[in-house]
């Protein structure tokens, strides 16, 4: 990857402007800014319904310096397919610029759940676009309802931590692997632990012809119940505890991007957020669930390491 000169980056205007309405400390705009920072060609963005879309397009304002389209919740994949197809012919006709990059942004709800089908269709058809999922592990715009990306045992408003049921019972869906199974040229998973990691991954995704997918774990201070300043700290814990492995799949080849030298127990990650506080309530601790969580993390990590050797 060509070296990224940070100083130069500060000169480039980011496709996402100031003045958007995301909550203070939200991980999504940080992810979007870093993702598009090193993209040289002009970009057209398609968004699925979600926090990012609603907060950046409060009419009559738009926080997008680049063309932006949002159609509905379940069709970012289909929407960007139409735009990309139009570009293929309109650029031939000289009506549109030759080199335009197409980037779709969806939250976990819009990507793991309701938008999965249109994403899968767009990947299978091989459109030349990059889909970035800003994954805050829940339907946060509507008040932290659970999605298939919500981690096991997490407290969400439709899988609440009650006296009988301790939060979400199911493990989160591993969408990154489902997307990798589409055998597309570039798939990656990362978080906000290290800006250069996200910047270079998306630069590579966008410059890879054909479909590319980057799954970015982003904290939601309000509903992860962390301080708005703790964005990077929690992401580091997620990566260091291997709760959120950081890796790439390049033309089917698995490459581990970050192997924490001294990994942190999952418990440290869980204790850093209020959405898991019910596991540590005095007298009603659920260390069994914490232990099971560690078992899951370790098993998934081993699986990933095997794939990286394979």
């Amino acid at each position: 990857m060509a070296g990224i000169n940070l100083k130069e980056l500060t000169k480039k205007q980011n496709p996402l402007t100031e003045g958007h309405r995301m909550c203070p400390g939200c991980g999504a705009p940080t992810a979007v800014r870093q993702a598009l920072m090193a993209v040289e060609d002009p970009v057209v963005v398609v968004g699925a319904t979600g926090c990012l879309e609603v907060s950046t397009t409060v009419y009559p304002y738009s926080a997008w310096r680049v063309p932006f389209m949002h159609v509905a919740f379940e069709n970012a994949g289909a929407g960007i397919s139409g735009v990309e197809a139009a570009h293929r012919i309109l650029s031939k006709k000289g009506v549109a610029k030759e080199k335009i990059k197409f980037v779709a942004f969806g939250g976990d709800g819009g990507t793991y759940d309701i938008g999965l089908q249109s994403l899968s269709g767009a990947l299978e058809r091989g459109h030349d676009f990059t889909y970035i999922c800003y994954n805050n592990q829940g339907y946060m715009n509507t008040g932290a309802q659970r999605s298939s990306a919500t981690p096991v045992s997490a407290n969400a408003t439709t899988s609440p931590a009650g006296s009988v049921i301790p939060g979400k019972l199911q493990r989160a869906k591993n969408l990154t692997e489902i997307v990798a199974a589409h055998d597309i040229p570039y798939v990656a998973q990362t978080t906000l632990h290290n800006p250069m990691d996200l910047i270079t991954k998306v630069k590579r995704a966008v410059e890879t012809p054909g479909p590319a997918f980057v799954n970015v774990l982003v904290p939601c201070p309000l509903f992860w119940k962390i301080d708005s300043a703790d964005q990077m700290k929690v992401c580091k814990l997620a990566a260091d505890s291997r709760f959120w492995p950081v890796y790439e799949v390049i033309d089917g080849k698995y490459v581990l991007s970050y192997n924490p030298k001294n990994p942190v127990p999952l418990e440290d990650f869980l204790r850093s957020q209020g959405r898991y506080s019910h596991l540590f309530k005095k007298g009603r601790e659920r260390m069994d669930l914490v232990a099971q969580g560690q078992v899951d993390v370790d098993r998934e990590w081993e699986r990933l390491l095997k794939k990286c050797e394979g």
Binding site: E18, G19, T30, P60, L192, S228, Q231
Partner: protein, 114 residues
């Protein structure tokens, strides 16, 4: 960018002009405020990279030269990621007297709807 006053001057389709959110003063949201200590700052740009609201100002040479109070929401991410603790957080109330340029108040609903 003036808000449309009647349906006749609403632009066609549902389009909004690109980057028009630059008129929106999200700085009104702050209850805490970051203050940059220029002597400590080594301009490593970690804060600039992480700021969710692109509010860390940089000059021609790409060095950090202040924080944009029109937009900053006071989340404190910059203060936390700064490796040399050059940014400290303060109560916004301590700065009430300060003169500031005004933009559209994001919370204010247009009068014809009230």
């Amino acid at each position: 960018m003036s808000k449309p006053k009647c349906w006749q001057d609403v632009p066609p389709a549902t389009i909004a002009w690109g980057a028009s959110a630059l008129d929106v003063e999200t700085g009104l949201w702050r209850s805490m405020r970051p203050v940059l200590d220029e002597n400590k700052c080594i301009s490593c740009l970690k804060c600039w990279l992480q700021c969710p609201d692109s509010s860390i100002k940089t000059n021609e040479e790409g060095r950090v030269c202040g924080i944009n109070m029109f937009f900053c929401k006071g989340c404190g991410v910059c203060a936390q990621v700064c490796p040399v603790n050059a940014i400290s957080m303060h109560q916004e109330a301590d700065f009430t007297g300060e003169k500031r340029e005004h933009g559209e108040d994001p919370g204010k609903v247009a009068d014809h709807v009230k």
